[in-house]
Each structure stands twice: as C-alpha cells, then as structure tokens.
Amino acid sequence: MSNFRGAHEKAHPNKSNTLLLAIITLLVLIVSMQIWLLYTGLNNALSQHPDIAWITFIVSFVLFVAALGLLYYLPERK
C-alpha cells in the first residue's frame, strides 16, 4: 500500500525541488509574520496593554506549530 512518504520518495527530483522551495518560502513568510507580531506585542506591552502581548504570543505559537508541521513535508535526502 502506498503512503505519503513512499510517494514522496519516488517523486521526480523536479517535484522535490519545487516542494522544498515552497516550504522555505512559507517558512520565511511565517518568520516575517512572527517578527512583526513580536514588534507589535513589545510595543503594546510597553504601552501597558499586556492583553495584546498575549494575543500576539498565541498567534506566534500557532505559526510555530505550523512551521514545525511543514517540516514533515521536507523531501528526504536522496
């Protein structure tokens, strides 16, 4: 029976290449959003609005979990 990882390994190198680039692009986007969230959280914390700092932390956590999840789709080293 075929599974995701099996099909993944049999994929043409061009497909693996595209997949890897897509993952890196998404990770860069996630990190950029997290930098903005950290900046916003810090500014609000310094303006005595800790509730917004907590919201930015939760969103940042969700983005980190998404980044971890993306690593599952990394093509294996050939």
């Binding site: 890897l20 890196i24 990770l27 997290q34 950290l38 500014n43 932390f57 690593l71 080293r77």
Partner: protein
C-alpha cells in the same frame, strides 16, 4: 582497505569532508528557519509574561523637582527620581503650563530635547518629534508617546507624581 589507499588514520576516524561541513543544504536551512520561528515565539511569550506578571514599578508619591523661579518660560530641567535612574525632563511651556516626560525616545532610547518656541520635543537621532503638550508622536519613527508624569505647582515649588493609567 582504506589504509592501502594512503588515507590517513585521522580521516578514517573523522570522515567528514570540508565541503560537507561548510555547505548549508536547503533542508538544513528550512530546519534553521523553524528554530528561528521557535525563538520568536519564545520571545513573544517572554514579553507577555514580563508585562503581565513583572510590570514596571510605578512612580509613587510626590517628588520635588525645583522652584518655579529656577525655570524660565521655554526652559527645561533634567531630573531623576530617588531610587531610579530613569531620566526625566521638566518643561515650562510658553503658555505657562508645566509638563514632565521621560527623556528617552520611545524609538531607540536616545535623549529627547524640548525645542523652545515650537511646542515640540525633538529626538535628534532619527528626527522624531513629540507634542510637548501631550507627549504624542507628531512625526518620525517613535512608535509610542513619551511616558509622562503629572506636574503639580504648589506655591513656588514644582512637584511631580506618577500618572494614573487611563
């Protein structure tokens, strides 16, 4: 076998090529980005925890700064509060009102100065400007208003107290 190929012993014990150790593969880069993402998440968490559970100490009580005669209209005076190293400036505005602000720009903590006659406080580092009457940002990169103190004039003496949060 390897010995016969004239491979030195240390290379057999430590079988890594220079190219392998210096090159960063795209897989490694993706994993590193994930590590950065975790670091940023941890940073956001620390900011939230610090602001909720270890907030900055509020200014308590009334503190004498100077006599009214010591500061002419348009003049400023730097001061610190007892037990603190945070620099403040007391400003005697042209409309005879008094204001006190933290002397650190909210952008990168450069010292800010009142520009007499303009009603504005200037941060010379990155051309940031604040309204001297309210402390609000008028122009430039500062993201927040200047933290303010309440100024109380009692007879000839000028005192400051902590500002109550809005």
């Amino acid at each position: 076998m390897a010995q016969q190929d004239n491979t030195p012993d240390w290379k057999i014990d430590f079988p890594y090529s220079t190219v392998e150790t210096l090159q960063v593969s795209r897989r490694q880069f993706a994993k590193f980005l994930c590590l950065v993402s975790g670091g940023l998440m941890a940073g956001s968490g620390l900011v939230a925890i610090k602001s909720s559970f270890f907030p900055e100490r509020k200014v308590e009580g009334e503190h004498f700064v100077c006599n009214t005669a010591a500061l002419p209209v348009g003049g400023t005076r730097s001061f610190t509060l007892p037990g603190s190293t945070v620099p403040y400036i007391l400003i005697h505005l042209e409309n005879d009102e008094w204001r006190a602000y933290e002397q650190k720009c909210t952008h990168l903590s450069c010292a800010v100065f009142y520009k007499p006659g303009t009603g504005r406080i200037e941060c010379p580092c990155h051309n940031g400007w604040f309204d001297a009457l309210t402390g609000e940002v008028v122009q430039g990169p500062p993201p927040r208003p200047l933290p303010a103190l309440n100024v109380i004039v009692k007879g000839d003496a000028v005192y400051v107290t902590g500002q109550q949060p809005a």
